[in-house]
């Protein structure tokens, strides 16, 4: 809402204040900000107050150049810009446009009421062009105004929120003409093809030859939301399997899609053509990633990390053992809660982070792997390698499978595997059954509810009792096996009782992947 107050005063010139609403970004949340511009007599100057960061302070030079390039006057007066509330830190260049508009209103260049009920967001180029800024979705969502004005490049993003009338302009001149009523508002840009580097078509599971256990594990992982650890020598197809996982997951629901879109927008990741992130994201950070890159934070406005970008989709950590231990352990709380809470001295934000964790690792430093005594690495080297992944993190993986290189006959002449579409259908049905139990997926089943929703057949019960007595299964492991067995029974389309074969397969898929310390 823009308003200009002109009060009669004892001085010769009127004292003028203009206010324009906008928003700034913290984490993946927009915070409403109101831009107040005060133009008065005095030594010509331009001051920005109200905790601007460097990019925000520099807007003075961009705004001045943009005004002059657009043949608009720069007031030779004392200009003070206040970003209210002044206690909240503001970051980013998105406040250029609202500052320029407020300045033009305060300087009398625009009529005082032309920008009523409008909020503005955008970066200015020196030539007067308007540029898109990251975080448009959450910032627009935070705006209360009826109409939002954004750069043409942000039009699609701003429309995702769906609560506002979205106006776009490509240049400051266009915008000023439209505000004055000299010209009509420019048309919003037509939807364009997906930007390069964005999400591509999912890969098909039919490309995977052989790998019966790996395929089963990926299917169970998708159906039950069980985290998956793939262990195998280089070239076994671990990455190939993991990359096909998003194609098995159902499309994101409306709420989840909006959350994912918000996070993508806040991080400045290109959005798909229709604006909303509908396809489950797949994020595969390199093992050189820092804790901040993975978890989020870092800059003043706390950029979402990889785990938030993977919200609703898959976070794939290749070479798990090469990630620094502290970085991996920082994943434990988000894995448990589905959100990540970032706290800094200046404030704290909560970012969504409900993702499916898929990790791949070599079995030992030489990569050859095998049981005890089958590779060239000594027991000390093997146990050092295994200790890189802490036991509590390892415990989060319900599925730990060994995959090995398929033989050449399977690779060259083998039948193509079952296509993703068929597997995805089973996954969707299994997820539907889980939803009927009131949970998102079987991995979320509370332990106390297992007896009710996953009762065991007598033979299965006997087998698990034997395992517990023999000490090869822990109490916590028992619950995890039962959840995976529940998913397996769901995938097989079987009724309420979980049979022995499902428990056995769950145990097979929970093999410790040669990762646990072998007891000598």
């Amino acid at each position: 809402m823009a308003q200009a107050l002109t009060r009669g005063s004892t001085r010769e010139e009127p004292l003028v204040i203009a206010t324009v609403p906008s928003a700034t970004l913290l984490g993946a949340e927009g915070r409403p900000v109101s831009i107040e511009v005060h133009v008065s007599n005095g030594l010509p100057g331009f001051t920005v107050v109200g905790l601007p960061d460097a990019a925000c302070r520099e807007s003075r030079d961009r705004v001045r150049a943009a005004l002059l390039s657009s043949s608009l006057p720069w007031p030779l007066k004392r200009v003070t810009v206040n970003l209210a509330p002044s206690g909240v830190r503001k970051g980013g260049p998105g406040l250029d446009l609202p500052i320029a508009v407020a300045l033009l209103v305060a300087a009398g260049e625009l009529p005082a009421t032309c920008a009523d009920a409008m909020a503005f967001l955008g970066e200015l180029g020196l030539d007067g062009s308007l540029r898109a800024v990251p975080g448009t979705v959450p910032m627009v969502a935070a705006m209360a105004a009826k109409t939002v004005v954004v750069p043409s490049g942000s039009g699609r993003e701003a429309a995702v929120v769906g609560r506002h009338e979205v106006r776009c302009a490509a240049t400051l001149r266009e915008l000023v003409d439209a505000l004055k009523g000299d010209e009509p508002w420019p048309d919003p840009p037509p939807p364009q093809a997906s930007p390069p580097g964005g999400l591509s078509a999912p890969l098909d599971l039919a490309d995977v030859r052989g790998q019966p256990v790996g395929r089963t594990a990926v299917e169970v992982c998708a159906a039950g939301g069980h985290h998956l650890l793939l262990c195998g020598p280089p070239g076994a197809g671990k990455t190939m399997l993991a990359r096909r996982l998003p194609g098995l997951l159902p499309a994101l629901s409306d709420d989840l899609a909006l959350e994912a879109t918000t996070v993508h927008s806040a991080a400045g990741v290109p959005l798909p053509a229709d604006g909303l992130v509908r396809q489950p994201p797949f994020r595969a950070p390199h093992h050189g990633a820092s804790a901040v890159a993975l978890i989020g934070g870092g800059s003043a406005w706390m950029r979402p990390g990889e785990i938030s970008l993977a919200h609703g989709g898959v976070l794939f950590l290749d070479e798990l053992g090469e990630f620094p231990g502290a970085v991996l352990d920082s994943l434990r709380q988000p894995l448990e809660e589905g959100v990540v809470r970032l706290s800094r001295a200046r404030g704290s934000v909560t970012l969504p982070a409900r993702f499916l964790l898929v990790a791949a690792t070599n079995p030992c430093p030489c990569g050859r792997g095998g049981g005890e005594g089958q590779c060239r690495c000594g027991p000390a080297a093997r146990s050092r390698y295994r200790r890189r992944i802490s036991a509590p993190l390892l415990d989060r993986f319900d599925l730990r499978v060994v995959v090995s290189r398929p033989d050449s006959a399977t690779l060259v002449g083998g039948e193509p595997g079952e296509p993703s579409a068929a597997v995805a259908r089973r996954v969707a049905e299994a997820r539907q059954r889980a939803a009927e139990r009131g949970v998102r997926c079987n991995a979320d089943l509370p332990a106390g509810k297992l007896d009710e929703v996953a009762p065991l057949a007598p033979a299965a019960l006997k087998l698990l009792e034997y395992k517990l007595r023999a000490g090869t299964l822990s109490g916590r492991g028992l619950h995890r096996v039962r959840r995976v067995a529940r998913t397996l029974a769901d995938l097989a389309g079987e009724g309420s009782v979980v049979g022995e074969e499902h428990v056995c397969l769950a145990l097979g898929l929970r093999g410790d992947a040669g990762i646990d310390e072998a007891v000598a």
Partner: protein, 355 residues
């Protein structure tokens, strides 16, 4: 002259930096320990005095470590005539444990379950027949052999003898701390390294010659071709000690050395009886083998057992090898484990021999 025994001077000499087993043997070859100490100490700056010897002697006493010097009473007769006999031998436990028939059981640290089981059984059955099991207390085969020997020693079997590479107060590997203590209590721990000596890599091949010298028969359970056991085998052959080898799968890298030894003409050690024959002993303890009482596996179970072979295999390997559905294989493995045909540990499945 002082009132310290010659052993104290020998021990102090062994603990001097720069004095290894070979130099020590050279120093003590033609003179007594005290004069050797005085000659070496005189060359050192600052010159170590008798108080160093006394402190070292007191520390040995406090740690309960005995010292035997070659050529003096108390030195184990089994080693006296050896051409590479250690000049000074530190011991913890009863030296009497060495007296008797001795068999060394050696092998790799990185062994398979098969190797561990065979080493355990050999150790147990040999000790039950009164044989002293000599080994190095390392991870893998060594530790398994001693665990077996201890199990039998508790029932009146032969006491275990361990020759280690580090000082007797430096437990290495630390995972064997309990085993280390039990061997010292039931039998004897030997080392030529002074107190506080770290388990440096060079000490282990040197230690292996003592193993070979002590043993009347050396049994190689599992070892890759270039493993540390090779040193023990070479040292044993140089002393004309019989070397027996435990046959293993021809494709298992850990059975490379024993299989190569067999092809060179060594006798196989299939069980304790083979070793007892090599010692010219008749078995006194009853053989532990008996008929297989396990319920026979069904068709899928047999296929899974065939696919497993005798080497550890992952679940995936069995599924691929049998060509059956993962669920079916999981069920079969669970039943086989219940019936005692296989064991699963750390994601690896292995067949087990009849008890």
């Amino acid at each position: 002259m002082s009132d310290l025994p010659p052993e104290a001077f020998a021990a102090a000499l062994a603990a001097l930096p720069g004095v290894g087993p070979a130099r020590l043997a050279q120093l003590l070859a033609d003179t007594d320990a005290e004069s050797a100490w005085r000659r070496v100490a005189a060359e050192r700056r600052p010159r170590p005095g008798d108080e160093v010897v006394a402190a070292g002697w007191a520390a040995l006493g406090a740690a309960g470590v005995g010292v035997s010097v070659l050529g003096m009473p108390g030195y184990p007769p089994a080693l006296v005539d050896d051409h590479e006999a250690p000049a000074v031998l530190f011991s913890k436990g009863g030296m009497a444990a060495i007296e008797g028939r001795r068999v060394a059981i050696v092998g790799t640290r990185n062994c398979t379950r098969y190797g561990r089981d065979v080493a355990f059984e050999l150790g147990r059955d040999l000790a039950a027949n009164g044989v002293r099991v000599v080994s190095g207390l390392a991870l893998g085969v060594d530790g398994a052999a001693h665990s077996g020997a201890l199990a039998a020693a508790a029932k009146g079997g032969g006491p275990p003898v361990a020759v280690v590479g580090s000082g007797l107060d430096v437990v290495y590997p630390r995972r064997h701390a309990a085993l280390w203590r039990q061997v010292a209590e039931a039998g004897v721990l030997l080392s030529e390294a002074p107190l506080g000596a770290a388990p440096e890599a060079w000490r282990f091949p040197v230690r292996n010659r003592i193993l070979a010298a002590l043993a009347e028969v050396v049994v190689v359970v599992e070892s890759p071709h270039a493993g540390g056991s090779r040193y023990t085998v070479d040292a044993a052959m140089a002393r004309d000690r019989p070397v027996l080898a435990v046959p293993g799968p021809v494709r298992s890298p850990t059975s490379d050395l024993p299989n190569a030894l067999l092809s060179e003409g060594c006798h196989p050690a299939r069980d304790a009886l083979d070793v007892l024959v090599a010692l010219d002993l008749a078995p006194s303890a009853p053989s532990t083998s008996q008929t297989d009482r396990r319920p026979p596996p069904d068709a899928t179970g047999s296929a899974v057992l065939d696919a497993l072979g005798w080497q550890p295999a992952s679940f995936e390997h069995v599924v691929v090898a049998t060509g059956r559905a993962p669920g079916e294989v999981g069920l079969a493995l669970a039943h086989l484990e219940r019936d005692g045909w296989v064991v699963g540990s750390g994601g690896w499945w292995e067949r087990v021999a009849p008890a």
